[in-house]
Symmetry: C2
Subunit: 365 residues, 2 copies
């Protein structure tokens, strides 16, 4: 790694590699063992949450049974993949622990920040698709909102925020003054804070699970709270999910680069082929692997299981046996492919119904 200052670009779709450096430079904290204990959940136990800001406030609120919220959103600029599923799983985890949950179908963001989405209509189509998936994954209809279909106060608040960000500040954080991206950012800040704003909610602690590359939004949002003392908002915490490795080396799963991802709308047999072709951590041949064991930490099959298989014992067994050289890539890839296919079949069965609900939500004004 070089010693150049790190620039986090929320729109670049580049995987953050050197977590330690980002943590140090931007003041993101590691999750402690005590914090992991507060959330008995595989996302924490398996270190799929790599860092946070102010997670302690959420633990305190949870333990004191005070209201708190968890919000995330997905830019509607392409189909959802297994990387998105992890973000949604994180929201569902917090719901289980008592959070009010909010899921933004960020269709305006999709249009505004991605050149490839050329019209709002295209973004609306992605919104319908994404909401269908979110519902099928278990998000409640009442917890989902569509950026383009909000009450006026939400937009007024986004504009209100714009007056409080200086051009120099925006340029320093994002390295651009593109007007579409400015719009995307002020909307995103309104997203994150609106659960604390009348008439949407009231001031309370909140946490926002995102990829580490989205941290610039979190920092700017936290700074904004102090600019509106009249609203008495709490600076929300951030929670940084590890990115599931993409199918090409050195990538994260990204809908902008379809070759990197298994999509929630992939045909099961198509997904099976992707799984069977994925890079593993096996030795050069069976003999070597028996002798030295495999390396699950760089294996895409194992990553899929670690991110998505809830059965803790089975995931641990595979890890140990792989390292011990008693569990091999062929059977492991087949197990992973079966797991993914079974998941997709069940998910897509639910989707038949939830996609209709999503279409209905987009029709309403």
């Amino acid at each position: 790694m070089t010693d150049e200052p790190i620039k986090l670009d929320p729109w670049a779709n580049v995987e953050v590699k050197d977590y330690e450096k980002v943590f140090e430079e931007f003041g993101v904290e590691r999750v402690t063992d005590d914090q992991k204990k507060a959330f008995k959940h595989h996302l924490f136990q398996r270190n799929l949450i790599v860092g946070h800001r102010d997670l302690g406030n959420i633990i305190k609120a949870k333990e004191a049974k005070k209201p708190f919220y968890c919000l995330t959103g997905i830019a509607c600029s392409g189909p959802l993949h297994f990387g998105h599923k992890t973000i949604i799983d994180t929201v569902l985890m917090f719901r289980k622990f008592g959070a009010k949950t909010f899921f933004a179908a960020a269709d305006l963001d999709g249009y505004l920040s991605r050149p490839k989405v050329r019209t709002l209509d295209e973004a609306y189509d992605f919104a319908a698709e994404n909401i269908g998936h979110a519902l099928a994954l278990g998000v409640d209809e009442k917890d989902i909102y569509i950026q383009s279909r909000m009450p006026s106060r939400y937009y007024d608040f986004a504009f209100e925020i714009s007056k409080k960000i200086t051009p120099a500040e925006f340029q320093a954080i994002y390295g651009t003054m593109e007007l579409g991206k400015i719009s995307a950012v002020i909307l995103q800040i309104a997203d994150i804070l609106h659960p604390q704003l009348n008439p949407f909610g009231k001031p309370m602690q909140g946490i926002v699970p995102v990829g580490l590359d989205q941290d610039p939004h979190i920092r700017l949002t936290r700074d904004m709270c102090a600019k509106f003392p009249q609203y008495k908002m709490f600076p929300p915490g951030g929670l940084y999910n590890a990115h599931q490795p993409g199918l090409r080396e050195g990538t994260k799963m990204s809908s902008s680069h379809p070759e990197t991802a298994i999509f929630l709308s992939d045909k099961p047999e198509e997904a099976r082929k992707k799984c069977m072709k994925a890079l593993t951590g096996g030795g050069n041949n069976l003999e070597e692997q028996r002798k030295y064991g495999g390396n699950p930490d760089i294996c895409h099959s194992y990553a899929t299981l670690k991110f998505h298989m809830e059965n803790e014992k089975e995931v641990q067994r595979i890890y140990k046996e792989c390292k011990a050289g008693t569990w091999f890539c062929g059977e492991c890839k087949k197990l992973t492919a079966d797991f993914v296919c079974d998941f997709l079949k069940a998910h897509q069965e639910k989707l038949k119904k939830t996609r209709k609900i999503a279409d209905r939500m987009l029709e309403k004004e």
Copy 2:
């Protein structure tokens, strides 16, 4: 005048002095005698409309009895004065000639583009006040909308527009990249075009009466139509009102500079004092004035009558007698003060009722 390029700053509250130069540089056209004839109205007859873009399209639509619209708005950043009345009179004139009319209470704009409006709540208060005045001046309640209380499609459209303006373009037109002003501009473009957008209306010719200093918004708005071919919008025309001279020399009436203006909420006796103190075009003494006549063209008393007194014969009489040296500043100022006081009394009587309607409009979400 210097030969420097002219910069029109819509937020500077500086009176445009050299109309010819602005017209030439930015392609604004003079109103022709034929065009004046198409609108038999004192605003045209008395040259209170100083220029236009594409007024011809409106005349054609009017004569072909095709739908067309007239839209204006006032930034809610202070109380209204007689300068604002002229803009509203212009809208009322177009309504008489068959236009669908729209009046924007631009509360978001007031907050976003004026440092002195420090919170949205302050802008809402100005909005209620301004709407009360607009109603009392004769604008229909159904033709008034509040920027901060619109359906989501309006805001989505403003954001949609933001993606199509490059930073270089914005900087060149406005000389700033302040985020609040960017927001104000995209909202203003959405204002001007939304009567042509589903579900608010449909594509039709439109005209926007503003002060000449607001022409940058008109130019940018016209350019935007081509960026959204899917909406089939007509580039709206612009209509440039002369600014009623402010009470201090070299100013226009401006709510940012209260010493320059007679406000619609001034107590009649307060307004009378302002009228009696105003600069006239009289000679150094009565004798000189008898001999050489007065100069109504630089007289603030006459300006008030020319802008606001509908009685054409009386205005012409005063002009002629002043020039002939048979009508003097003392009696003229008294007549003007009486006219203003009578107007304000009647207006403020109506205001008692209309202000309640305005408050109710702002309560509704």
